[in-house]
């Protein structure tokens, strides 16, 4: 299965590429996608799956599907 992963405002030294295709096995979850991305602290990032929030505690139980768009960003503060 192929999904699209977008990363926004990711802090260095994490990968800065804004958008990439990711291959995942059938049955993979949001947590699997985050792990594959290789972020230093995946738990400290927020995720949107097709515009829906996926809270930290629900990522391991939230499956992804073909052509899904997963958006990942750090919960930075305003200023």
């Amino acid at each position: 299965m192929k999904i699209t992963v977008k990363t926004l405002a990711i802090r260095p030294p994490a990968p800065l590429d804004a958008e990439r295709a990711m291959e995942l096995p059938d049955g993979a979850t949001v947590a699997d996608a985050l792990a594959k991305l290789g972020l230093e602290k995946p738990g400290s990032h927020a995720t949107l799956l097709n515009d829906e929030s996926v809270p930290t505690g629900k990522r391991a139980g939230t499956p992804v599907n073909e052509n899904d768009v997963l958006t990942i960003f750090p919960p930075i503060h305003g200023g």
Partner: protein, 609 residues
């Protein structure tokens, strides 16, 4: 200890400046800066007094860490009754002015009364005097005022905090600008300064700041910096600035757009951090020139920009072709999506004018957005605007609007009213995106429910900096948990605001890191728990001031649009702010009654009776 134990009291009516002892008993209870100055304000003025009258009190308050080597220890607060809100105002600024005041040997400046003619305050270490502003600087912009003061006194190292022409003409959201582009921005503190005929405060200090235990302080500062300096959060802020938030709020659907009619902006990619750093086709240069840090800061989130010299806003005007303070998240939100404009150069120009004439870009942009909606529905006409076409998306309207507002001329006088009074004047009060009269920052409360509660309950009106619900909101946390997050973070932020450091290190630090630095600097047994208790005391003190000023629990609310009109897109599509569910839980946690009044038990617990 870090305190000089010395306040400068300036009576503008009498034209006097004198030193007096800092109340150390209050410092033990309210720490410094925001907390301690709010205590002075509450003790010294009638909360019902006209904010633009001579009985208002205007306080400039650094914290005990301001002027020290603590990372980001350059902050000061301006505390007064806000001209925009009629509530307690607490506007915080960075730059170098606050540190310079402490280096001059002062812990606070308390300004009372009103000068018969315009004056400025000149401070050189322990010498302070009121001098005529007259034709010298009254009627001049912030930028010109700073240049003239430095020239007259023959010292380029003087630091200046001043008002521009917006403050002189009593724009309700006039701010106080120091170091050309750092500002005590919110709630109209510049209008209060203008109402007192006080144009500027110039400071030069060489005496330094002593801490209680130099070795312990050095160790605490070094340990805190060892956490902050290598962190990804610090690097990200330095590299991308706060403007990187724009990508996030756009994706999340919490980006206020066209006066909160929408929550995502189709032109956001023309305004974001990448756009700011991209080379322009016109001249091959980027809008972003470099980053910049405030006093003692190891982050450097500030932006320095250089406009496209061919842009229509500055053609033929050399002054704006120089490098100057650039866009941050809040300014780009307000001068871009909120007014529907996708021209980053026009937004940069509008931000320059806000700095030059001393206006809060959040309130200006949000007020212009309200005017654009009023124009769109026909409530404001060309006859009202003098022919200016106030259409959403018009960069020309943004440029002309900011010029008029900066000078208070023509329709600019209406824009200077702020969104609340403007919308009331034109018969549509519901279109003002405000809380307690203060315009929204760049987060829509339908997608960020914790922020909705933070806006509604902020003592100074809608504010993104008085609580920290960001992480839970972006993580999609449940409504049931919002009240506790807002309550606890409001207390923590109130304490941090009272130390003299910036909020940004708190992405890496916890309150133990702050307490260690405060304890080494001041002594007296400061711990993380005591900071939390102090923060809660400060929050209740501000609340009591507001209640005495005539505000009530009914002011802890949001505009009808946020409560009744569902978000059209993004993660909150179909949702409204659930304030009715969150507010009772928040009052209960605070120990307030159903009307939002602190109970006797709460005040006793906090030693406030």
């Amino acid at each position: 200890m870090a305190w000089h134990e010395k306040i400068l009291r300036v009576d503008l009516t009498k034209g006097t400046c004198r030193a007096e002892a800092l109340n150390m008993e209050w410092a033990a209870q309210y720490l410094g800066s925001r907390g301690l100055a709010s205590k002075y304000l509450a003790e010294e003025m009638d909360p019902k007094a006209d904010p633009l009258g001579p009985k208002n009190v205007l306080i400039f308050a650094p914290g005990p860490l301001t002027g020290t080597s603590a990372a980001t220890g350059g902050r000061y607060a301006v505390i007064t009754k806000g001209a925009l809100t009629g509530a307690v105002a607490c506007s915080n600024s960075g730059g170098y002015w606050g540190g310079e005041l402490r280096l001059a040997g002062w812990d606070m400046i308390i300004v009372t009364g009103k000068a018969k003619k315009p004056v400025y305050l000149n401070i050189e270490n322990d010498k302070a005097e009121l001098l005529s502003a007259g034709k010298f600087i009254w009627g001049q912009s912030v930028w010109e005022t700073e240049a003239r003061i430095k020239e007259r006194h023959g010292d380029t190292r003087i630091r200046v905090a001043s008002i521009g022409r917006a403050g002189e003409t009593l724009s309700r959201y006039a701010c106080i600008v120091n170091d050309l582009d750092r500002a005590a921005g919110r709630s109209g503190v510049g209008a209060v300064m203008g109402s007192k005929n006080l144009k500027a405060i110039a400071v030069r200090g060489t005496s330094g700041v002593q801490v209680k235990d130099a070795d312990a302080f050095h160790a605490a500062v070094t340990a805190a910096r060892a956490k902050l300096d290598p962190s990804a959060d610090r690097a990200g802020l330095a590299e991308q600035g706060t403007i990187s938030m724009l990508e996030i709020t756009q994706a999340f659907g919490s980006l206020p757009t066209r006066n909160n009619r929408d929550v995502q902006f189709e032109g956001s990619d023309k305004l974001d951090a990448a756009a700011m750093a991209a080379r322009r086709r016109s001249d091959g240069r980027a809008n972003l020139l470099t980053n910049r840090a405030c006093f003692s800061c190891t982050i450097g989130c500030g932006r320095v920009s250089r406009m496209d010299p061919g842009h229509f806003a500055i053609k033929g005007n050399e002054r704006y072709k120089q490098a100057a303070g650039g866009l941050e998240y809040e300014s780009i939100y307000a001068l871009g999506p909120m007014v529907g404009v996708d021209d980053i150069e026009a937004a940069t120009y509008a931000n320059y004018i806000c700095n030059e004439e001393g206006m809060d870009p959040i309130s200006f942009g949000s007020t212009l957005a309200a005017a654009m909606e009023l124009y769109d529905i026909g409530a404001i006409t060309d006859a009202d605007t003098g022919g200016l076409k106030l259409e959403f998306g018009s960069a020309e309207a943004l440029v002309k609007g900011v010029e008029l507002a900066g000078l208070g001329e023509g329709f600019g006088a209406d824009l200077g009213l702020g969104a609340k009074l403007l919308c009331e004047k034109y018969g549509h009060p519901d279109l003002a995106m405000v809380v307690k009269g203060q315009e929204f920052p760049g987060y829509d409360g339908r997608a960020m429910q914790g922020m909705a509660l933070a806006y509604a309950t902020s003592n100074r009106g809608a504010c993104h900096l008085k609580a920290d619900p960001y992480g839970d909101d972006f993580d999609g946390g449940p409504i049931e948990g919002k009240a506790k997050i807002v309550y606890e973070s409001q207390n923590a932020v109130a304490a941090i605001d009272s130390t003299g450091i910036c909020l940004f290190p708190m992405a890496v630090w916890d309150l133990n890191d702050v307490a260690a630095q405060i304890e080494a600097a001041c002594g007296g047994g400061w711990t993380a728990d005591r900071l939390v208790e102090t923060g809660e005391r400060i929050w209740n003190l501000e609340r009591q001031f507001n209640l005495a000023a005539g505000l009530s629990g009914k002011d802890d609310t949001l505009p009808k649009r946020i409560l009744k009109e569902a978000a059209k897109s993004g993660s909150a599509k179909g949702k409204v702010a659930e304030l009715g569910q969150m507010l009772p839980a928040y009052y209960e946690l605070r120990g307030w009654d159903d009307d939002g009044v602190p109970t006797t038990q709460t005040l006793q617990r906090l030693a406030m009776t």
